[in-house]
Symmetry: C2
């Protein structure tokens, strides 16, 4: 199996391999340019004759279930990240694989976290061949120095659904950690001692994997309702002592920023939206769970209250601020992709209009549309932006791969995508001639809001026109870049070996938008 082969230059001018881990690849061709042919993945037909008539699919433990599922060398094992840094299952799976002497596995998580650092030893000893999925922190650092046997493949949440649906990734065994489940395999995330809200990231895995194992620390009588994961897709159910560490399930980042600079950026962003006429009775928005994004949401709520308006829906990452908006009637719906705090979990359980979504409904580019394209305002972050509005969320300017894509690429399709970012971080400019890794093309990024001014993508003449008479500090992106460089100096390029890829970044359609290179110290 060739780790990589033959590089070509793609539509955003990046050098990308045409073979990755033995599979042929398509280079990024531009937004909406690649046209899929062929048909969706077709899982084997099961028969109820092979499953227990009493519906009891329980197995004594995870090891037994993995053995019954046929765990063997070279398989692809998927997990999901609804427990975020409180996940305990992924490490257990590979501990078992190691114990059984199974080699060359592909780990296909929906995201990875610092709690997965113990897996580095399995990357080193050959238990895991490579990771297809985000590699945050230690795992990313490990991969960045070229220490992984295969190439990393990073996908957005929507891209992950697309890859599974289209058969780009075949999952042999999916392990779904469920805060509540019944013996038939129906599972939900919105209740139980380790309640995390929803399980949408595991939906594709349940639908398309050959074998599906549900693990839970809260086995409930049939039927486990809501059945966010349907038992009709599930082969085995195991109970474990603890499915996740509750205090780590809730993200630590869901607090409004106290930094004066970031508050200023948040206020400027909200002001921009208001003055550009993007906020109206019935508008919709997506704001992440970072401190700045949360603050912008709070400004939106204030504007709605002042005007007596209601948002049609707020796209979450839900959190207590969004829940307050919902319960105060400031938004009609929360369309939730990932619950970020316990108020979000409670609200999803209690409010019919706090809706459990999945990457299929929200983000899948290879569906008959997805609702991400008609969210009015999207607020997301970036580690770097270039003068063509291309943005990076996966690497730092030193070349290290430290973050996943999450739903970031998918959200860019919104009607107006705004990146509220500081002009520099640790005296390193954020606006550059070229970003280290293009994660999203400038075509889809409309506005950059910094503490020293707002740059609008010149393609958005409508937005430039809308705010031309305002008092907003509108500048060109080149002006912002120059200001940053005047303070911090010209930034250094990352020291990387551009013949040694360590990972590729998939666009939402499965094409490769950029390559992450080996960092040279």
């Amino acid at each position: 199996m060739k780790k990589f082969d033959k590089f070509v230059t793609n539509a955003v001018g990046r050098k990308v391999p045409t073979i990755v881990n033995g599979k042929e690849q398509v280079p990024f061709m531009g937004v909406g340019k690649y046209r899929p042919t062929g048909n969706k993945a077709a899982p084997p037909i099961a028969t109820a004759a092979d499953y227990p008539e009493d519906g009891n699919k329980t197995q004594p433990d995870l090891k037994t279930a993995l053995i019954k599922a046929g765990l063997k060398d070279g398989m692809t094992i998927s997990t999901h990240h609804h427990f975020r840094n409180g996940d305990v299952l992924a490490v257990q799976i590979f501990d078992i694989a190691k114990e059984l002497g199974v080699k060359d596995l592909v780990w296909f998580p929906s995201a990875s976290f610092p709690c997965h650092q113990p897996l580095i030893k399995y990357l080193e000893d050959g238990t895991i061949h490579h990771i297809e999925g985000s590699m945050n922190g230690a795992l990313g650092r490990h991969a960045s120095y070229g220490k992984m046997a295969g190439l990393g493949v990073l996908r957005s949440h929507g891209g992950r659904y697309q890859a599974v649906q289209d058969g780009d990734v075949h999952i042999d065994i999916a392990v779904i950690a469920a805060p509540s489940a019944d013996a038939f395999g129906n599972a939900t995330g919105d209740r139980g001692p380790a309640a995390c809200g929803l399980l949408g990231f595991a939906l594709a895995d349940s639908q398309y994997a050959d074998k599906v194992i549900v693990a839970t620390d809260n086995l409930v009588p049939f039927p486990c309702i809501p059945w966010q994961i349907q038992g009709n897709y599930v082969d085995y159910v195991v109970t474990v002592d603890q499915i996740g560490i509750p205090e780590k399930i809730v993200s630590g980042t869901t607090k409004i920023t106290r930094s004066p600079d970031r508050l200023h950026i948040a206020e400027l962003s909200a002001q921009f939206c208001e003055e550009a006429g993007l906020i109206y009775d019935g508008f919709s928005f997506q704001a992440g769970a970072g401190g700045t994004s949360l603050s912008i949401g709070v400004y939106f709520a204030e504007i709605l209250k002042k005007k007596g308006w209601t948002a049609a829906f707020a796209r979450g990452g839900s959190n207590k601020y969004l829940v307050e908006m919902l319960e105060q009637g400031l938004t009609k719906f929360i369309l939730d992709g990932q619950t970020f705090d316990l108020e979000g979990v409670r609200s999803m359980r209690e409010n019919w209009n706090h809706v459990n979504t999945s990457p299929f409904t929200s983000y899948n580019y290879h569906g008959k549309g997805f609702f991400g394209t008609f969210v009015d305002i999207v607020i997301v972050g970036a580690t770097e932006v270039d003068v063509n509005f291309n943005a990076n969320v996966v690497t730092h300017s030193d070349g290290l791969l430290l973050h996943g894509i999450g739903g970031w690429q998918n959200t860019l399709f919104g009607k107006c995508t705004i990146l509220p970012i500081p002009l520099f971080r640790d005296r390193i400019p954020v606006i550059l001639d070229d970003v280290t890794t293009i994660t999203g093309p400038g075509d889809l990024i409309d506005v950059i809001v910094t503490e020293r001014g707002i740059a609008i993508n010149p393609k958005r003449t409508d937005l430039l026109e809308a705010v031309k008479d305002s008092k907003l500090p509108i500048k060109t992106i080149e002006e912002l870049k120059a200001e940053a460089e005047a303070i911090c100096g010209k930034p250094k390029k990352a020291r990387v070996d551009e013949n040694e890829p360590v990972a590729v970044i998939k666009w939402v359609d499965g094409t490769i938008i950029d390559t992450v290179w080996k960092v040279v110290e």
Copy 2:
């Protein structure tokens, strides 16, 4: 295309064709004996690039949508029957096909009703080649006399999901009538002027059809929640004046029986369940919407109340009696497959534990199990039963095909299947040496309750043992048959031409369990 060819005798001794409408068939091999190979159907991969960015998929009218969907000769068009005898859409679709001069269509409804009688003219003029689905009343009579160009193919609700999922039936265009929908295609049945409860019968159609049209008379702002049908599967949305006739949507049969004989049968059935120990704290049951079944449900409720017990779940066909049980805490859940009255619709909208199910979760034999196998007590009807407990629900003793299978075959997998039936109808015995059409094999039918006694399938030695000391009128099925014949005389066999099939009856696994023959007058 050969309408039929080469007959063989299947595992229940019935003569069945090996070719139906040009496609090879597998004869019924016994319950759980046929093992599917191969993979599920794989719909073409779509791309969001082909769908409107603003999510607005509306088309001016149904005709435009059908033309855009590529309606042409020989296509398979699916509809669903949540509006029952109040459906107005199916006839409109074929009116349009006729107007466009399209021929040889296959109509693939989830069920048909008397309101579809106007389609006979399209069967006659070649617009419709044949119907794959139930043919109640006039359509069935038409087919029974051999007047349809192709063979009818009847499937259970679960078998219909199986056929679509497995690729046995490829739907070219699905038209989904929705009581509420948004412009993106999300749709629900639980609200709107023509609210019918759920839309589960259209689930497979939405997932697997090449083109999906949602028609609604109640277009709501995005998002239409709950999205029982997800817009990500939908191509076009059309608004129509009326999607169904509300007063006909509600089944007329959901009234407790007043017939003393039937009340007696109901009481005997409930008594049997109690004395056989089938009712316990946490048991589950499925009772249909017929008068006798409803009465049995009411007896169950009384037993639960008396004992202070709670059912784990009631499988519906929901109706006001089941809703009362739910709201009085006598059952923890209603798992609803089809809402039979407005109280059912209201409850589904209001009660989180009144659950919208689909043939996938409830009935699909080619899944990883289905919950129908662990329902404790199943109460269903039959037109005829034979001395081997084989039963018929589709034809009458004159050979006429007058009823669909519904979920009947699927429910037989429950732990104890009870058929409460009169010993004779219109002086025609119901228990026979041979049923006209085997719709369900005797292996799965456990108990026959008549006004003159109860027959237990000899295979169920456990049940025979459980009631041996009771005062219940336990008899053999031969005894019951003799009693009927003593009163009515030996029944006449239907006058049919056993070389001229008019329809086939599929078993839940896609094999053919019996043939319906042309009626000779």
